[in-house]
């Protein structure tokens, strides 16, 4: 049979039971859509994280991160995220001379500045030079310990009203924005660019930061605040978070694991439903349309030809449902920017002692659809090989032979 004629015959064969075909198509499409949306939600965390980095860089030349740079270096996560955002050859400048990418970054011409402020001292305490760093050499500003801020809900980008006292007793009111938080030490990062932009004659280390006009809503302990930050960045059901056996993030691991298990169960269940739905439909096709199949057979169509018709139907169902599910999933995405991640989503892996709960790759629903397709076709083939003769004979009788 010629290829074009095969398609013609296949379409005609499907049209003999179009109602069931469309019911199956709808069911499988809905299953795939839910599966795709699951994946989208799962991936949105990383997507947002990268978006945050890109936006901050574009606005301020500043990269903010919920992780400290040392933590980022240690975890490797930030490197991965930055690499996603800026390409593989980006350079991070850090005043602590931390080599992030394996490249020593001090003195590079086009750095991506990332500032990290370690907690030090208490509120209203005059900051003195730290032991680990030489601020005058690095330009690093030491921010006092901000545990008190833990009583307030702070977010990246919030203005943090501070008084800055420099040597000589001059006092300045500055309003830097929060560039990030150090999750391990519960401290706040601000960019010195905000301070320097006001032409404050900062003479490190003789400066004092004092909170003023704090008007943030009190929400509880700092631990809660950090949870909120993660929630803001990753969404309420964020994944892709780090957790360690001894670190702060451990408290998140239960939820993350639960989500992962739920996702896995849901994915397997949906795939199973899809498979059963599809295979059942195809097998029903063989039994219900046995008269049509036997007609084709009496006219000289080979068993392989009959099988090809059934497989064509299976593959058509799969391809159509995946395509429709993709469209629906995209339509359901609240933020179009996530679509890229939906299609090409990142795959984080394991970094050192920290395990990243990897956002499942975006192609997962499509891979599942592919596996489903092959499985359904194989099942149909086995079913046809085993029972085809019986049904074709039944079809002959049904046809009045």
């Amino acid at each position: 049979m010629r290829l074009g004629d095969f398609f013609f015959l296949s379409v005609k064969y499907i049209s003999t039971h179009k109602a069931r075909f469309f019911v199956t198509l709808t069911a499988v499409t809905l299953l795939f859509t839910v599966l795709a949306c699951f994946t989208c939600a799962y991936l949105s965390g990383e997507s947002t994280f990268n978006k945050c980095i890109e936006e901050d860089f574009a606005k301020n030349g500043l990269v903010c991160t919920p992780y400290g740079l040392d933590g980022a270096q240690e975890h490797g996560l930030l490197i991965s995220a930055l690499s996603d955002a800026f390409g593989d050859n980006f350079v991070i400048r850090d005043t602590a001379d931390i080599s992030v990418t394996g490249t020593s970054v001090n003195g590079m011409d086009y750095p991506v500045p990332l500032f990290y402020y370690a907690p030090y001292g208490d509120i209203e305490e005059t900051v003195t030079e730290g032991e680990e760093y030489d601020p005058s050499a690095t330009g690093k500003i030491w921010l006092p310990r901000l545990n008190t801020f833990g009583q307030y809900e702070l977010r990246v980008g919030d203005v943090l009203p501070l008084s800055l006292t420099v040597s000589g007793g001059e006092k300045y009111e500055i309003s830097p924005r929060i560039a990030g938080f150090h999750s391990g030490s519960n401290s706040v990062f601000i960019s010195p660019a905000y301070a320097f932009a006001e032409d404050i004659p900062v003479s490190i280390p003789e400066i004092t930061f004092t909170p003023r006009e704090l008007s943030f809503e009190q929400v509880g302990e700092i631990k809660v605040r950090i949870e909120n930050i993660f929630s803001d960045i990753y969404g309420d059901n964020f994944t892709g978070a780090l957790f360690s056996s001894d670190g702060y993030f451990e408290e998140f691991s239960g939820a993350v694991k639960t989500n992962t298990v739920i996702f896995a169960i849901a994915a397997v269940a949906l795939a199973a439903f899809g498979f059963v739905s599809l295979a059942n439909s195809l097998m029903m096709g063989i039994t219900e349309n046995s008269a049509t199949l036997s007609l084709y057979k009496t006219l000289g169509l080979k068993n392989s030809g009959l099988l090809a018709l059934l497989c064509f139907e299976a593959v058509t169902l799969i391809l159509l449902s995946v395509a429709l599910a993709s469209l629906l999933a995209f339509a359901l995405l609240p933020v179009s920017a996530y679509a890229g991640d939906f299609l090409w989503g990142g795959t984080l892996s394991v970094f050192g002692e920290f395990t990243v709960i990897a956002p499942l790759p975006a192609w997962l629903p499509f891979a599942l659809a592919g596996i489903l397709s092959v499985a359904a076709v194989l099942t149909t083939m086995i079913f046809f090989r085993k029972n085809g003769k019986k049904y074709v004979q039944a079809g002959l009788r049904e046809g009045g032979i």
Binding site: T298, L301, G400
Partner: protein
């Protein structure tokens, strides 16, 4: 030539059923053979075995020198496509295809180009006075027209043998006679026709009648 030797057919099941019991016969090319007998005597089973639609339990059936029982799927499919054609009581037209597409279906399966098969289908439909119905779906045809379309489909591959199973069973007398006339005409052009019927009146045109009873041949006589 069709040669059957000691053909047995047993339908297995909870209670096995002997449909054909060691029957043997020969049908020469160009014969018009009528197979008759009471319901359940094995007429349709015999036709299905000759056409390779069902397997033989024991014995052999040779059609045009080829043993139908030993053919593989590919050979059997070619055999059904080119050597034999079926005409069924219930017409068995695909309701989703037009009349001309139905008629051309065996050529489509054989891989003949669309233009060529359309041309041949239309020529046959014209011969059977159905050309004006070529673009219609079978549902818009009368019973007689549907059977004529089915006969056109059976003829399109120029088969050596036409196997007709109660071809007038669903037709009124007038249309039944027309179908019988057509089959006679086809036989006179050189095609072997084997027709099953329970109606003795349908067998008037046959050159030979084989009567079955309980799976055995009880009469095999040349007519006229």
């Amino acid at each position: 030539m069709i040669k059957a030797e000691n053909v047995r057919k047993v339908y297995a099941g909870e209670v096995s059923f002997l449909a054909l019991d060691n029957i043997s016969f020969e049908i020469k090319d160009g014969e018009f053979v009528g197979i008759c007998g009471k319901s359940g005597c094995g007429k349709s089973t015999l036709l299905n075995l000759i056409g390779g639609l069902d397997g033989i339990t024991s014995g052999t059936i040779e059609v045009q020198g080829k043993n139908v029982g030993t053919m593989g799927d590919r050979e059997l499919s070619d055999f059904r496509n080119r050597t034999v054609s079926f005409v069924f009581q219930a017409f068995y037209l695909d309701p989703n295809l037009t009349v001309s597409e139905n008629v051309a279906m065996p050529l489509l399966i054989a891989g003949v180009k669309k233009k060529e098969r359309e041309k041949k289908a239309l020529a046959l439909l014209e011969r059977l006075s159905l050309k004006d119905k070529a673009r219609n779906k079978p549902a818009k045809l009368s019973g007689g027209e549907m059977q004529r379309a089915a006969i056109a489909r059976a003829l399109i591959t120029d088969p050596a043998v036409i196997l007709a199973d109660e071809p007038t069973g669903n037709l009124d007398v007038k249309n039944g006679r027309e179908v019988l006339r057509l089959l006679k005409e086809i036989n006179e052009s050189g095609t072997t026709v084997i027709m099953v019927s329970h109606n003795p009146g349908d067998l008037e045109n046959c050159t030979r009648i084989i009567e079955l009873s309980d799976g055995k041949i009880i009469r095999d006589e040349v007519c006229g």
